[in-house]
């Protein structure tokens, strides 16, 4: 007797074990205490307890069934779990702490996080095995994200401590969201333009290549906090001596500058790699048929380099979403500000409020670019 699908099986088993052995939710009399954990079967879920049959079913499926059945039954089951689990936790919270403005808090336990995360991995694995086209895979994830957003905005999760923190910090949250998107967009866009130019230069002049990548690699090896710190002094000097710029040593400017510097290496490397994988024969043929160098660049090299370039842009943007979190240390704002506030106040839910949106943002950016790349690369 062999397992037909060992990886999904192991993930389904892990989901079950973490659900059974770790607390699903925690109840605390106020927001600063960790509180007592409640296991899955002790949480007030009513009929919702039966939801545990989902991972059981997936385990059986992975053990016995053919891959087609895994796809037909497994994919919707895993997706359902990802949407249903937060809803169930929200329901439990409503039972345990019905007053929205009371002191008592119900937070998500390790059992929730682990079983949710393992199921997300399982869904990814099932999608990989299904070998769907990229756009269909992305669409499924977008569906899950939209369903979760609907739960959030519909109020189903309002009684969870995370959402209580959100309610208390709504203005700060919205401000942080705007700042975070600004930090990423204003650093990745110039880095993409500059990186594309540098990559083109490196492709054309192989002698420049070595020196260029030495510098970019050096920037990349600097720890992010050190780079943020290093930029404070020169920018403060600049802000003092050129008042019209509206730049200061701390705040948005050094944050954007540092993120731009970090984004340069992956962008330059992505552009160079993209140009290098353009078939030399295509370029020779283009020249031999009488295309000018600009025509070759625009009609042959850039279109053929585009998918690799966009992959570089995807990685850079996802990286920038994460790095922007640290930029809060020099007053650039963003979700990092909320996270650090939570860390300083030992309020774990506030930390999560500053981290979860960043993870969601990174995933959303990743999905968006995957969709674009799939559209661009459909001829190859």
């Amino acid at each position: 007797m062999t397992w037909r699908a060992p990886v999904p099986g192991a993930l389904a088993l892990g989901t079950l074990i973490s659900l059974w052995s770790l607390p699903f939710v925690r109840f605390a009399p106020n927001r600063l205490l960790t509180g007592d954990g409640l296991a899955w079967w002790r949480a007030p879920l009513g009929l919702g307890h039966w939801a545990a049959l989902l991972p059981c079913g997936l385990l059986l499926l992975a053990w016995r069934a053919q891959s087609r059945a895994t796809r037909v039954v497994g994919l919707p089951a895993a997706a359902l779990w990802l949407v249903a689990l937060p809803w169930l936790a929200g329901m439990a919270a409503r039972q345990m702490a019905p007053e929205v403005d009371g002191l008592a808090r119900v937070s998500l336990g390790a059992g929730f996080w682990l079983s949710w995360g393992l199921m997300a991995l399982l869904l990814g694995e099932l999608l990989r095995e299904a070998a769907w086209p990229v756009w269909r895979r992305v669409l499924l994830w977008v569906g899950v994200l939209l369903a979760l957003l609907a739960e959030l905005s519909g109020g189903a999760l309002d009684h969870l401590s995370l959402l209580r923190e959100y309610a208390n910090h709504q203005d700060a949250f919205n401000l942080a969201f705007g700042q975070h998107v600004q930090l990423v967009a204003l650093s990745v866009a110039p880095a993409a333009l500059l990186g594309a130019s540098l990559g083109l230069l490196a492709a054309r002049r192989s002698r420049v290549q070595g020196a260029l990548f030495a510098v970019l690699n050096l920037i990349q090896t600097l720890p992010s906090i050190a780079l943020f710190g290093l930029l404070v002094a020169p920018l403060a000097w600049l802000g003092e001596h050129v008042p019209g710029l509206g730049i200061a040593g701390i705040g948005m400017a050094p944050g954007i500058l540092a993120l731009t510097l970090y984004s340069l290496l992956p962008m330059t490397r992505g552009t160079l790699a993209g140009l290098q994988q353009v078939p030399a024969a295509a370029v020779d043929a283009a020249r031999g048929m009488g295309m000018g160098s600009w025509q070759i660049l625009w009609q042959v090299e850039l279109p053929l380099a585009l998918p690799v370039f966009l992959t570089g842009l995807r990685i850079t943007a996802v990286q920038a979403v994460g790095l922007a979190e640290v930029a809060a240390l020099i007053g650039a704002g963003g979700f990092g500000a909320i996270m650090f506030q939570g860390l300083l106040g030992s309020a774990i839910d506030l930390v999560l409020l500053g981290v979860i949106p960043v993870v969601a943002l990174a995933i959303a950016v990743d999905l968006l670019f995957k969709l674009i790349i799939a559209g661009v690369a459909r001829h190859d």
């Binding site: 020249r287 009488g290 279109p303």
Partner: protein, 311 residues
């Protein structure tokens, strides 16, 4: 048509790739540049459309010095096909073939009509192939598109750098026939680079044998086989296979006796004498019945006639 006078080109190394070479190519000629790798044959070809600029010497095309023309304009008037084909993977077959016409700013209708005409000429069904991408084609089909692309703007000169080198023998043979047909049909000047002596003998009306950047011997295929200038040429055309290659130059139609007959499976009058020889040996006979291209009896080929009347 093309006049090259004392051209030289040295890349990094000490030995010149092309060394003080002069060559005259008449209009309508099918010229094959042949030599081992490093003989300078590709460099010589690439000088004609200024992909390589000579260090010294002068190249005239239609009496005009090519240095006095913009390289792009010069190249658009010459067809160019290479071994690795170099089709643009992100463009359809139709877009690929239409490359030079588009550069020359033809109207869309004229380009479309030309693309269909060329696809038909290369035996690719336009309706089936014009919207395909290169990766959806076999190697032979890709090279057909490559040749069609080179012919697109109806150039006077066709430059081909080992165009069939990467193809299997059957596909290569078919495309060689195709190219001969197009050459006979259009009367274009073709300059083709190869290292395959059989390909050179089959295609070329004028063969230029190169070694170390210089011309060792040039002339009709028969001249090279009959009167090799030195041991190098003799080696290159193949000491022991010269006889077979001589036979490959002629067809059955030229040797058959019209009023004779023979028994057995008839051979085509279009067959080369080399293939006929192979048939004689395989069937262990000394005469073969011959039919013309409509399948009507045309006479018989005698084994002993293979030896006679060789020029």
């Amino acid at each position: 048509m093309i006049e090259m006078t004392q051209v030289s080109k040295t890349f990094g190394g000490a030995r010149p790739a092309v060394d003080d070479l002069s060559l005259s190519i008449a209009a309508g000629e099918f010229v094959v540049l042949i030599g081992s790798s490093g003989s300078g044959k590709s460099t010589l070809l690439r000088m004609i459309n200024r992909l390589v600029e000579p260090d010294r010497g002068e190249i005239l095309v239609n009496g005009v010095d090519i240095r006095r023309q913009r390289p792009e304009d010069l190249r658009r008037r010459m067809g160019y096909a290479i071994q690795s084909i170099g089709l643009f993977p992100h463009w359809t077959v139709a877009q690929n073939i239409g490359t030079v016409p588009r550069l020359l700013k033809w109207t869309k209708a004229r380009i479309d009509a030309r693309v269909d005409e060329l696809l038909a000429l290369l035996h690719l069904d336009p309706a089936e192939f014009r919207h395909r991408y290169p990766h959806q084609l076999s190697g032979g089909q890709q090279q057909r598109v490559g040749v069609a692309r080179a012919l697109a703007a109806d150039p006077d000169v066709l430059l081909m750098d080992e165009p069939f080198g990467a193809l299997d023998p059957v596909t290569r043979g078919a495309l060689q026939e195709e190219l001969l047909r197009i050459h006979a049909l259009s009367g274009k000047t073709v300059v083709l680079v190869t290292h395959d002596i059989d390909e050179a003998l089959q295609l070329g009306s004028h063969i230029v044998l190169m070694n170390q950047g210089r011309i060792v011997q040039q002339g009709r295929p028969l001249d090279l086989l009959r009167r090799p200038a030195n041991a190098f040429v003799h080696d290159f055309v193949g000491r022991t296979e010269i006889g077979l290659r001589l036979l490959a130059l002629d067809r059955v139609a030229g040797r058959l006796r019209p009023n004779e007959a023979a028994v057995g499976e008839p051979i085509s009058a279009d067959l080369s004498l080399r293939e006929a020889l192979s048939t004689f040996v395989a069937r262990r006979v000394d005469r073969l019945p011959v039919v013309d291209d409509q399948g009507r009896p045309a006479g018989a080929l005698f084994f002993s006639d293979l030896l006679e009347r060789q020029l």
